[in-house]
């Protein structure tokens, strides 16, 4: 009956960490917008979240040792990927600043969403502990 933070918080703490990391990557892209030969990078959010054990895998559960594992192949590229440039640049730079800014704004908003979810979870736990109505 003990409170398990991992269970209570769900995927939101992982998601928030990942959002922070992605903010860093996008900031690096924007900082290197004028660097010749720089290739913009990004992460596949879904794949990483899946690799960290969070989220709905969408595959079948195995309840017996002889069941086939239908899960998607374990490590589906959790690293950094390169962005496909919309149009080639003369200096081989693949950063599209507008695109990166949009992604950064979206990431900040999703970060805020994760924060809201986490905050809600913490508030719920607090209510459970103190037994009071807020």
């Amino acid at each position: 009956m003990s409170i398990n933070f991992d269970k209570a918080l769900g995927i939101h703490d992982d998601a928030m960490l990942l959002r922070s990391k992605r903010a860093e990557i996008l900031a690096n892209n924007i900082a290197n917008a004028d660097t010749p030969g720089f290739e913009a990078r990004d992460v596949d959010f879904k794949a990483i979240l899946r690799a960290q054990g969070g989220g709905d895998r969408g595959d079948l559960k195995t309840t017996h040792g002889r069941h086939f594992d239908t899960g998607e192949s374990g490590n589906t590229g959790t690293g950094l990927l390169f962005r496909n440039p919309l149009q080639p640049a003369l200096d081989q730079n693949t950063v599209d600043v507008e695109h990166e800014k949009a992604e950064f704004a979206r990431n900040a908003l999703q970060h805020q969403a994760s924060y809201t979810f986490l905050n809600g979870k913490f508030k719920g736990l607090k209510h459970a502990i103190t037994g009071q109505r807020s």
Binding site: M16, L17, R19, S20, K21, A23, E24, I25, L26, A27, N28, I30, A31, N32, A33, D34, T35, P36, F38, R41, V43, I48, T78, G79, L80, V97, K101, F104, A105, A108, H111, Q112, Y115, L118, N119, F122, K123, K126
Partner: protein, 142 residues
């Protein structure tokens, strides 16, 4: 805390862009600087940017090789030949009556200036967004 690294990265971008703005200012200021010989003529300067790579390889996560920002590798001088102008009565004219002016395209420099200042602003926006994200995290559970 990777959000703290955003400040470093955006800061490196800001400092690189401000150096670029410096070179533009220098080029524009010296666009009309004449001299009496080709070697002594001012040459337009341009910074060379390079992405900072991680100094160390992290074993744990591949994610940690996301980069550290941008640095200025150096400043190169433009290869454009100075323009000789025939002005025998100029105090700096050489024995043939020529003075030399740097071949600086003011319009190009202005475009470079706008690009640099916009890129600077973008980095400031990134820093501001990261600040807001961090402040929000600090209020978690309150």
């Amino acid at each position: 805390m990777s959000l703290l690294k955003v400040f470093d990265i955006a800061g490196s971008g800001m400092s690189a862009q401000s150096l670029r703005l410096n070179t533009v200012a220098s080029n524009l200021a010296n666009a009309n600087t004449v001299s009496s010989s080709i070697d002594k003529t001012y040459q337009a300067r341009h910074p060379v940017f390079q992405a900072i790579q991680d100094q160390y390889m992290t074993m744990s996560e591949e994610l940690d090789t996301s980069g550290q920002g941008v640095q200025v590798l150096g400043i190169v001088e433009d290869k454009a030949e100075p323009r000789p102008i025939y002005q025998p009565d100029h105090p700096l004219a050489n024995e043939d009556g020529y003075i030399f002016m740097p071949d600086i395209n003011a319009v190009e420099e202005m475009a470079d200036m706008i690009s640099a200042s916009r890129a600077f602003q973008t980095n400031v926006d990134v820093m501001d967004a990261a600040k807001q994200m961090m402040q929000r995290v600090l209020q978690l559970g309150q």
